[in-house]
């Protein structure tokens, strides 16, 4: 498909990405702010089922991927919590389960459009070890490319895979060039006809489960090098380093441009995969001699900051400052105000 300008919402972009990725079915339950992904998918004539709850949607996906179909869901907040039941099975049985999460305010029913509070739930939800792949797109075009990538990573590496976005991103409309150049990885049956496979997720002996976890951990650590992604902006001479992900990073980019006009040397590290996390790149930037301050900016009370700290070399941790707007949108001006405060 040639590259053309389109005027699309985030939800429409996500639907296009899932279709281009070759997804065969969507199972879902309406919840704001991801309902438009579901209804948009349906309106374009794709296979779907609206289930009785997110639990059924999630397990239907488990069944579908066992049969060899690329199936996915989109959910948020309380629905994301219910989805963890099946996501835990997907983690335990290494099922290529793709979830688009539109983060909304929490805890509980919270607010319905926006937050960055589902980072831990996506990365570490369930009663396992967090062997999941979590992409955090910043902007509509990246929402497309990372959703495409999520399907490929899920089927290549066989870990539950998330596109962790938010209602602002899904509901905003913008001009996009969707580059459909990614080659799809084909789905294949995990339970092939007549093969007598027996796939457990519950074990009699501690040693058996221990081996399953160790194998998954070894694979996760091995594949992490291929999966991990991050971006940096204006970091070379930076004295102040901002760390942000998703839509907040878009505000931060604008704020950096403004601050640079006044001669303030500020840059940004942006994790694109929150799990696995690009610790190597983070530490190479955080260890730069000129750097004086590091600020983690997020619409949460410190979920990204905790991820950053666990991945950061000890000598850099003390200089981290959290700039937290839990469940609040962060505008460019908010970040400019912060930069002005710390640089004065």
């Amino acid at each position: 498909m040639p590259k053309t300008d389109q005027f699309l919402t985030g939800a429409e972009v996500a639907v296009q990405a899932a279709m281009d990725a070759g997804a065969g079915a969507m199972y879902g339950y309406p919840i704001t702010p991801t309902t438009e992904i579901f209804s948009g998918w349906i309106k374009r004539g794709n296979k779907y089922l609206q289930t009785e709850d997110e639990i059924a949607a999630g397990f239907a996906i488990c069944g579908a991927v066992l049969a060899g179909q690329k199936a996915f869901t989109a959910t948020a907040g309380p629905g994301h919590i219910l989805m963890q039941d099946s996501l835990s099975m997907a983690e335990g049985m290494r099922l290529p389960f793709v979830t688009i999460v539109g983060q909304r305010g929490g805890p509980s029913s919270g607010t319905v459009i926006y937050s960055q509070q589902e980072v831990f739930l996506a990365c570490f939800g369930g009663n396992g070890e967090g062997f999941r792949i979590v992409y955090s797109p910043s902007g509509l075009e990246e929402l497309y490319s990372l959703t495409r990538k999520a399907f490929n990573s899920a089927w290549k590496y066989r870990f539950p895979t998330f596109v962790l976005t938010d209602g602002y991103t899904l509901k905003m409309r913008g001009i996009v060039n969707l580059e459909n150049t990614t080659k799809n990885i084909d789905a294949y049956p995990l339970v092939p006809e007549g093969k007598n496979v027996h796939l457990p997720n519950i074990y009699t002996f501690e040693e058996d489960l221990n081996k399953v976890i160790k194998d998954a951990q070894a694979d996760f650590n091995k594949f992490a090098k291929e999966i991990v992604e991050s971006a940096e902006y204006q970091t070379k001479d930076a004295e102040i380093l901002l760390i942000a992900h998703g839509i907040v990073a878009a505000s931060a980019t604008e704020a950096i441009d403004e601050a640079r006009k006044k001669g303030i040397k500020v840059g940004m590290f942006r994790p694109i995969t929150l799990r696995p996390f690009d610790a190597k790149k983070l530490n190479s930037i955080a260890g730069q001699k000129k750097l004086k301050k590091i600020a983690v900016i997020e619409s949460s009370a410190g979920q990204l900051e905790r991820l950053v700290k666990e991945n950061m070399d000890p000598e850099n941790i003390l200089s981290i400052r959290g700039v937290q707007f839990p469940a609040l949108g962060i505008e460019t001006q908010d970040i400019i105000n912060f930069i002005n405060n710390v640089s004065s």
Binding site: G24, A25, Y27, K47, L49, T51, E52, D53, I55, A56, A57, G58, F59, A60, I61, C62, G63, A64, V65, L66, A67, G68, Q69, A71, D85, S86, S88, M89, M93, P189, V191, P192, E193, G194, K195, N196, V197, H198, L199, P200, N201, I202, T204
Partner: protein, 241 residues
């Protein structure tokens, strides 16, 4: 020799239909009877390559690798939506869910009811032994009034729950709902076959099978048979729909 032990004896001498792995079910459990008859049915109908047996969590999980067909575990109460997703993705498969009374009628009832309402072409075999057996004999939706359990040591205060009679009101024409017992192997075989045929015809089927649990009933020999026969008086046997 009781009917149950006769069948168990038969199973031990029939290598065609079951995979020989170390015995996992308790002595006197009814599950192996059902599995052997299911294995026999699938082999006779030559459906074994297309058959997929999904297992709920509870005693049903022990059935993994017990038949020479594809098997996998799901979660407690979640076998119905999992098999639904499998069947929709691969419509020519024979999708069978094996669950207990707790998994089917308590934690998984919502999914079971909606799968029945939508007439999903899957087959659920629900084993009713009137208790949560794997966790040590707690009250189930199917526990009889005054039956003593781990969580109702003075006897259950509630009337038992009749799942088939509830689902009768939501299923579509062509679906199959029936109740039988492991000590009636003739009817059990008939209903297993009819449930699979119902799926092949594109409809939902649920067979509730009353089964032995001497471990949690704290019965032995004849008293186990007596307990099951008493359950058969409380739960109406035969085709419900």
């Amino acid at each position: 020799m009781s009917i149950g032990t006769e069948i168990l004896h038969f199973i031990q001498n029939d290598k065609k239909y079951m995979t020989y792995v170390p015995a996992k079910f308790c002595p006197g459990c009814g599950y192996p009877i059902i599995l052997m008859l299911l294995g026999k049915l699938l082999a006779e109908k030559k459906l074994d390559p297309k058959a997929v047996l999904g297992l709920d969590i509870g005693c049903s999980l022990l059935a993994i690798n017990s038949l020479p067909i594809n098997t996998f575990h799901t979660h407690h109460g979640r076998v119905t939506p999992t098999m639904m997703g499998f069947k929709r993705a691969r419509p020519n498969s024979i999708c069978i869910g094996l669950t207990g009374d707790g998994g089917g009628y308590a934690i998984g009832l919502q999914s079971l009811m909606h799968a029945a309402r939508r007439d999903e072409p899957i087959t659920i075999f629900l084993i009713n032994n009137s208790v949560y057996a794997m966790t040590g004999g707690q009250t189930a939706p199917t526990t009889l009034k005054n039956q003593k359990t781990d969580t109702n040591p003075d006897g259950s205060k509630e009337e038992p729950f009749f799942g088939l009679e509830l689902l009768k009101n939501v299923v579509k024409n062509g679906s199959f709902l029936a109740r039988t017992a492991v000590n009636d192997p003739k009817q059990l075989q008939e209903f297993l076959a009819k449930a699979i045929e119902t799926q092949q015809a594109g409809h939902f089927a649920l067979v509730e099978i009353l089964s032995f649990c001497p471990t949690n009933w704290k019965t032995w020999g004849q008293s186990t048979i007596d307990f099951l026969n008493n359950l058969k008086k409380e739960f109406k046997m035969g085709e419900v729909k």
